[in-house]
Symmetry: C3
Subunit: 495 residues, 3 copies
């Protein structure tokens, strides 16, 4: 018997990867998809085969204890619950809601899988994501006249005549290739196309704004967002979502350099140096055992616990419920807005901004001191997993000091711009001109959008190297000198 055990162990060790797939219940519909597409798009099918979704039925996923559960539905009809989640389960769901539904070999297929589709199994996460600023990333840019003007100034075409430039509004493909790549496009059906395929003539919908997987995408079923922005299709690996590379797709540029800062932080160093040995797919994610330094997800999203199963932090797809301050994107750092829809905000000057041009927060639309305190505490609980109280309090005091000093450096730049506007050397609001289309205005934008943000991120996430000379304080200061000289010289010329 002992001999048999020995063999059995070897057998399991060697053959487990092969044998584990044998009993997977794939629906007939999904099998029909695979029969053709395994040859047509092998990468999609093989990728999916590597996913957890291809191996675990929703019913089985629900059976595990709450703390380890990866689904949040209450009930699910048997046709969905008892097959693994394959092509058909997602791409034929809610056909009536999807304007991109089309007949495809007898199936009602849609191309764009949406949060509403994912909510069948993950309703809690989708609801949380609805409160996330990211789910409103399209409207918060497109429907905010100040931000739309900024996008126009970045993406618009310059037509030059006699040393004057006229900026023409960008076409939709350029917008989709730039800001809205991450913010999300509007996906809609603009017609049909018939293509000659290996299986004869077939008709497909033609989509606007496609391809896109921006976090605030407006979908053909009216929903907002794209889970696949972070939960990359078709492997949907939780390990991948927890790695910082996922966030870096949209958070690496100078306007929001979270990844670059993380990379030079001690946290990033530990991840890069030792993270090859970590466990990334445990639920809950066990601090110290599974990983010894946080990734983005650890601080901002994941359900964290200690080895005894004690919860340190609950899972959130709202994300800013662990954040008191919004440190990027706007002119000044400010308390987080109450609503994820920021297009509703108006300051006293009537501008759709959460602060005045001189920095005072528009308190009515922003979370109050009590809520900030609670959120700060949420984050600090995560920090305390690996740091003492003295450390954590020192860090937060320093960070809040940096919020103040970077706001002050933005105010300095704004005062220079306001003087330029007043003296008429730069056109601006009072002349009903874009505030983003002259050289001095561009420098002003860089003061907050690049250098202020970068310095704050470096402070918040302990990546000082990025906040000193790389893209932070050196430029915050140099830019003031350049703005002043730029304006003084125009004064001289005008005299």
């Amino acid at each position: 018997m002992a001999r048999r055990s020995c063999f059995f162990i070897l057998f399991v060790l060697l053959l487990f990867p092969m044998s584990s797939r044998a009993v997977v219940p794939i629906s007939d519909d999904t099998q029909a998809c695979i029969d053709c597409h395994a040859g047509l798009n092998p990468g999609i099918v093989k990728g999916w085969e590597k996913s957890r979704m291809s191996r675990v039925t929703p019913a089985a996923a629900k059976e595990v204890p709450t703390s380890r559960r990866r689904v949040s539905f209450e009930t699910l009809e048997s046709s969905l619950a008892d097959s693994v989640v394959g092509c058909a389960e997602c791409h034929t769901l809610n056909p009536g809601d999807h304007r991109d539904t089309f007949d495809h070999n007898g199936f009602e297929v849609h191309i764009v899988v949406t949060p509403k589709d994912c909510a069948i199994c993950h309703p809690v996460e989708v609801e949380q994501f609805g409160k996330n600023l990211m789910s409103h990333a399209y409207g918060n840019l497109q429907n905010n006249p100040v931000y739309r003007a900024l996008a126009d100034s970045v993406n618009g075409m310059h037509v030059i005549k006699d040393l004057e430039s006229t900026v023409v509004k960008p076409d939709s493909e350029t917008d989709a290739d730039s800001c809205f790549y991450c913010h999300g496009t509007v996906i809609d059906v603009k017609g049909n196309v018939t293509r000659e395929t290996d299986d004869g003539e077939m008709t497909f919908p033609v989509l606007t704004g496609w391809p896109n997987r921006g976090v605030g995408r407006i979908n053909p079923d009216g929903s907002k967002g794209a889970c696949s922005a972070c939960h990359t299709r078709h492997q949907f690996s939780i390990a991948m979502a927890r790695k910082p590379y996922t966030c870096s797709e949209c958070h690496k540029g100078p306007d929001v350099p979270a990844y670059k800062v993380y990379n030079v932080s001690k946290h990033g160093n530990v991840f890069s140096s030792l993270g090859g040995d970590w466990v990334y797919d445990n639920v809950p994610w066990v601090v110290g055992k599974d990983f010894t330094a946080p990734t983005c997800a650890a601080c901002h999203v994941s359900l964290l616990a200690d080895e005894e199963g004690e919860v340190i932090s609950n899972r959130t797809h709202q994300m800013n419920d662990r954040l008191a301050w919004r440190i990027f994107g706007l002119i000044y750092a400010h308390p987080h807005p109450k609503s994820p829809d920021t297009a509703i905000i108006q300051n006293t000057a009537g501008l759709p901004l959460p602060t005045e041009l001189t920095g005072e927060p528009v308190v009515k639309f922003l979370i109050d001191a009590e809520t900030r305190k609670e959120r700060r505490k949420q984050m600090q609980t995560v920090c305390l997993s690996c740091h003492g109280t003295t450390w954590v309090e020192g860090q937060f005091a320093r960070f809040e000091n940096t919020i103040k000093t970077t706001n002050d450096m933005t105010l300095a730049a704004t005062k220079i711009l306001l003087t330029g506007w007043e003296k008429g050397m730069v056109k601006g609001l009072s002349r009903k001109d874009s505030i983003f289309n002259e050289a001095l205005e561009k420098k002003w934008v860089e003061q907050w959008l690049f250098y202020g943000n970068s310095t704050r991120y470096a402070s918040a996430m302990l990546g000082a190297d990025y906040g000193a000379f790389a893209h932070g304080r050196w430029y915050l200061s140099k830019n003031i000198h350049e703005m002043l000289e730029h304006l003084k010289q125009q004064v001289k010329e005008d005299e």
Copy 2:
């Protein structure tokens, strides 16, 4: 017997790495090299020992089925075919052709191994590489007067006197340390040197331009290029050549930021997050099974197949046979040149450029619409492994729109420069001055060499974060404002 099997399996598992080297046929000449150099340069010898070349004879490499074969020779004399490929096999090959051949302990050794040497076993790949623009990277820079002037303006020394700068032509070491590090230097023998060594006095050739492993290196046997640029000596790992880090050695800077764009793309994210589990050394490289997102090599070089062995894309070392457009390096994006030797190109103004200064392509030297269509289709076949037709067509339409808009933004900058030249505020072509040596000209160069290129790469390779604020559209637009203000101010001063 069962007990013995158990032991046998354990034995194989534990001892395989040691036992596998036992039967390797190393030539006497190579063994002689190793006998000294294992002590002198242990890193080289141990690196080579980890290579496939040190374990497989060319004869054995040829025996595998064509689709899995890594060599392309027809016949090889037995002295080479039946030993593994070691020091002597490469460094004593074709001694008569190599001006760097020298007598070394009785062997006719040369230092610089060249594509002509590698072609003994890999003739098809070397022939393909001869059609690759990269193999002409030295001459395409050095023999193009416009580009040589750009290099002079970058690498030349400034001598300041009374607020005037004279630019002195760069010395050859500076060139070799800058542009020609990647483009390749000219390696030639300029004399001999005698050194006291552990084995007594020995004489070695002194080489110009050494060290260098640039892709367009001019070798002492007259051949062009360096396979070791990508196939890093002395491990020659195909896994390494297939990883994006290899390309990043020369394709990360703002003039050609392919790696930076890849890094923030979904493809790059999948590679960084999940690529630790991939298989990088299979031939053919199986889409979906070996890897689930492309590296540079997957799209541009490798032989790809699906799990059934169906070829998706043939191996190419020409690379641009999957590319319709040349999106970097020149002033405007344009169809790829027909010949890898671009020094032969002349536009209507007599400049060695594939477009006019105002952007119109010099069609005579460039591939036609039909060829572009074929090449686009080659690339799209790769895309379709993991994406649907709707997705792929949308992506390519968007990319071609970006080619147009970035060319237009370069034209806008060019018009400003042309006005400056016309009005005499900037010296230029008509005054027979370098077009790269004044502040306004430098800004113009950045418009296409940095910002236009970066925006196109971001579009082509789906890394929008890089093309928005990092080094793309923000600067394309800001630069126009700065060029205009710069020139207008000079107009005022001259008035």
Copy 3:
């Protein structure tokens, strides 16, 4: 018996990770720490459990042969020698020396572990580190008036009134969040605080400059530095210290872009592509066998040997004993200073700089030609592990040429600035003004601090892509044009 062996091997293979901890002698004091903190700060305790320190007693560490030994103490009292190195062993050491010692549940605990604490087991390394410029990083910045003025200009707040800016000295939190994050803060006790904890009311010291782990930190026991800057607490992984990510925490920005250059070098490529299979924790570190391309540590710190145990390079924590030239941080590259305390240096103009403003080295304070030759040889010995003599000599000749040309390009910029100062268009030394607070001065700083440094790093470490367009020669040249136009325009205005 054979059957039993079979079981035994399986047993060891499967259970080793669990069983290995069973016999570890943890001191009662450390166990007392763990009893509470395992729940309070699980990340710290689990991190430490993964460390070598948690498994090996100093006595056992001393028993291994010298060449493989990781400790350097001569004798150690039994109370420390025979327990593993846990919480109490470090945090209660030398209580009388530590101004941050406080009573904590009956233990005399200090928060900040210092090199003096680490020296109990690692005295040789700590002594070497005392000769390292890094251990003086605080004073070399804070006590050098020129450098303190630079820091003030970077971190100070600008207050704008009537198009004039007044720069207010930075507060200490801003300094700590910027330059001194890496250089190190002064940690001292400024009072006590009583907190309500799970175990009732407890009193803790309040520290200035905390948190910080800068390499030149001034500690509450009067010592300089922080071993944890590179040997990250609480895993203290030698593998991590040997990976380039550790160095990148402070050496990635444009002032000292060592990591960025490494990343695009062949060395960095080999590490990124193949380093996943390397052995990082062997002592000595075996060239070719453990790794096939150097990380930062391999060239600058580690004890290297070949497979036969022949030492290639001795371990050093001084680091610059393998470096002839100091290529960054100061205005011109120059021979390394003799003393790690550079605040003692004075040039003939009375400035605390190792060169004159026009580049001539202040030889009295710098290592002589003989020492430079020795240090160059030290480094070349490492290079020769994997490169031939011809290669190495060519590389060093090219690098020293780049030192000359980049110094010349800095001199060109300095001449322009000196003219500005002379003509009074820029205030400067003679007007007793900061030399860092005007737009032209900022450009001058960038010439050496960013572009000169970057070009030299790219040359020294073979990452040419970074030294051409990314942050090197392109800007070295462009900046001269911009400085000239800037100054000429002011001349015109003043006429």
